[in-house]
């Protein structure tokens, strides 16, 4: 990257600068998987996130301009700004996030998995892309008020572990994102979700429905097409104790007080001990 050695802490500091209001939501654990100083991810130059609304607009200042003078052009924050949720598989999500920097969005990694177990390669791939892309996040890469692009791994729940395997899956909860109130306080009026398919991940629907109920407009871009209005449906057991009961059966909150997904192995069925 430069003469400065890239460490998990120095990379985290670049991705979560103190001046950005969205830095507190950057999940730290993926940064513990950073190794070395890889180059920019291959294929980044071919990614064009045209689906993302431009967070800046051009203002023409023609006051006192004579007919021979070109009007002054200035890039200013759009009145209608969006937060993005990029829910693409593994490395593709990180690369899309890096491409969004040029578009004026601050990528906020929410990856919460570690590089262990059979599926741990996903975290390794993501961490490598983030490490390589750290060089794009210099102090002046983005304005402090750049809107956020929350990055998720669409395959976070894939790969049910076999007995004895490390469970590297994870999921998102409402508590992993800013509230609608916080988003609005920083000029965000809506959210665009970038998803590879025509259906959104179940855990994400709880977050989107929450924002929708609080008055944020939700749009979705499937397969990179231009975003269209999307009305999230109330997910089953939204904010209910029934969901909590279901969570107790399979996907639980942490015993330590935080959040994450625990998926017990298939319940008992044969074998000796």
């Amino acid at each position: 990257m430069s003469s400065e050695e890239l460490t998990p802490e120095s990379a985290y500091a670049r991705w979560a600068p103190e001046a950005s209001p969205w830095s507190p939501w950057v999940k730290p654990v993926i940064f513990t998987e950073l190794r070395g100083d890889p180059p920019l991810p291959a294929g980044l130059d071919r990614v064009e996130p045209t689906w993302a609304p431009d967070p800046m607009v051009e203002r023409l200042d023609d006051d006192d301009a004579g007919y021979r003078d070109a009007p002054t052009r200035e890039r200013v924050a759009a009145r209608e700004r969006f937060a993005l949720v990029v829910d693409l598989p593994g490395r593709a999500s990180a690369v899309e996030g890096l491409a969004l920097i040029a578009r004026g969005y601050r990528p906020i990694p929410l990856y919460n998995g570690v590089a262990k177990g059979r599926m741990g390669y996903r975290a390794t791939d993501i961490a490598e892309a983030l490490a390589g892309g750290t060089r794009l996040l210099g102090p002046k890469a983005l304005p402090d008020d750049a809107p956020p692009a929350f990055l998720l791994d669409r395959e976070r729940m894939n790969g049910r572990p076999m007995p004895g395997e490390f469970d590297a899956r994870w999921m998102v909860f409402r508590q992993d994102f800013p509230s609608a109130t916080k988003l609005r306080a920083h000029g965000v009026r809506g959210v665009v979700v970038r998803s590879p398919e025509g259906a959104l991940a179940e855990d994400l629907t709880h977050v989107l429905f929450d924002w929708h109920r609080a008055g944020l407009g939700i749009q979705a871009s499937f397969r990179g097409e231009p975003p269209t209005a999307f009305e999230p449906q109330r997910p089953p057991a939204y904010r209910s104790l029934i969901r909590r009961a279901q969570v107790l059966m399979g996907l639980r909150r942490s015993a330590g007080g935080g959040f994450g997904g625990l998926i017990p192995l298939p319940s008992s069925g044969g074998g000796g001990g």
Binding site: E18, P24, T32, P163, F177, G257
Partner: protein, 412 residues
């Protein structure tokens, strides 16, 4: 008791401390919704308060261990615990196979200041969290508070106990639910402390262990011991072929917090089981509010908190006047449907402290490792219900005998 909130760090110092907490103390969940959960200031107690809390916590731990044994031997008392079916027989002291030997026993009691003195609401005796916060976070805060001291480090105390018990010859497994990064941080704090004492340890899931003639092995190596941060009542959700029951019966490898006894006292119906067994626990009587079966009380009176017997981190706890009405109604309904899985605990008034972030309700967790107090874990709730969204705060002991100025409030 004297407990006060200290002045806030400068923003750049707070940001640096947050980063160091992440990368040096494995604090991987520093944000919950809009709340940055690491307080940028410390809770301060005086030395007399530290000694007082130590004495209280150690007395509670002694009584708890005596009561666990008595309840294990009393079938009627065990039935009060409404345990999951696969565990009922395994917790009996007459179940076949011996209980695994104890590697270490640790528990965290959360003390709340009230107008009548300290109160606890339960024991975190199965898989208490807060190891990194009690030790590492307090150490990071210490340079900003001259003339203060850290009140111990539970990770180090646990590591010391383990080395005293089994030496450093064999590796130790650190068993946790591997999909939880925040449980991983507990394990990594303990791993660091073991490494500092020359003990190799390996974080892994409970099903990664294999058992040979009752001895736990990991990747073909026999283990010296197992530290478990995987809740006791979740073990039966594993495949039978993983021999999860060895954690309860027939295992010969020493376990930290053997799940059988731990599950008895972690259960919120523990006081009801104690009563059924005819046990008198003076320290528990002094500190724990009256605890009843929901069928014995009028839950609508506003005098009772409802808690699930096997709930954790404040989940599904209903506190009249604090829990939103819809949620409270849902909790009441659940408690009415299965009252044997709930408790009603008499509401107690907690005292708010003035902090740099406004009035907050403190809770001081005291770790006890093998009978000795070993560190303080502070949390601050914005409501009297200190749950998962509470601030985590370093607790420091003020070594100066005089009360300092600033944002200081004497509680009692």
């Amino acid at each position: 008791m004297v407990i006060t909130a200290g002045p806030s760090l400068a923003p750049e110092d707070a940001a640096r401390m947050r980063r160091r907490a992440i990368f040096e103390c494995h604090k991987y969940d520093p944000q919950s919704g809009d709340v940055s959960v690491l307080a940028p200031f410390a809770l301060r107690i005086d030395e007399a308060t530290r000694r007082d809390l130590t004495r209280r916590a150690e007395a509670l731990a002694r009584e708890m261990i005596t009561a666990e044994r008595a309840i294990a031997a009393d079938r009627r008392a065990r039935r009060e615990l409404a345990l999951p079916l696969p565990l009922r027989g395994l917790l009996s002291s007459r179940a076949p196979g011996a209980e695994p030997p104890t590697l270490a026993r640790y528990v965290r009691f959360d003390f709340h200041p009230t107008p009548d003195g300290w109160r606890i609401s339960e024991a975190n005796s199965d898989v208490p969290g807060g190891f990194g916060e009690a030790g590492g976070l307090a150490r990071l805060m210490l340079p900003h508070y001259p003339q203060h001291a850290v009140a111990g480090d539970p990770s180090d105390a646990l590591a010391r106990s383990i080395v005293d018990r089994i030496g450093a010859r064999r590796p130790v497994a650190l068993v946790y639910a591997t999909a939880f990064t925040d449980d991983r941080q507990v394990m990594l704090s303990i791993q660091d402390a073991l490494a500092a004492r020359g003990v190799e340890s390996v974080p892994c899931g409970p099903d990664a262990l294999t058992w040979t003639r009752g001895r736990a092995c990991l990747e073909g190596r026999e283990l010296g011991g197992v530290v478990r941060n995987y809740p006791a009542e979740w073990l039966p959700s594993l495949l039978w072929s993983t021999a999860w029951w060895r954690f309860y019966r027939g295992g010969r490898t020493p376990l930290a917090n053997p799940p059988g006894p731990a599950l008895i006292s972690q259960n919120k119906r523990f006081p009801i089981a104690c009563r059924r067994a005819g046990l008198d626990l003076p320290a528990w009587r002094e500190h724990l509010p009256e605890t009843r079966d929901p069928r014995e009380v009028d839950v609508h009176s506003g005098d009772w908190v409802l808690k699930p017997a096997l709930g954790r981190v404040g989940e599904d706890v209903g506190l009249p006047g604090v829990t939103p009405p819809r949620e409270w109604a849902s909790i009441v309904k659940s408690a009415a449907r299965s009252p044997e899985r709930w408790i009603a605990q008499r509401v107690f008034e907690t005292v708010a402290l003035e902090t740099p972030q406004g009035a907050m309700y403190p809770c001081v967790g005291v770790f006890v490792v093998d009978g000795r107090a070993a560190g303080l874990y502070g949390r601050l709730g914005r409501t009297p219900l200190v749950a998962g969204d509470a601030l985590e705060v370093a607790v420091l002991v003020d070594r100066a005998p005089v009360e300092r100025g600033g944002r200081v409030a004497r509680v009692v």
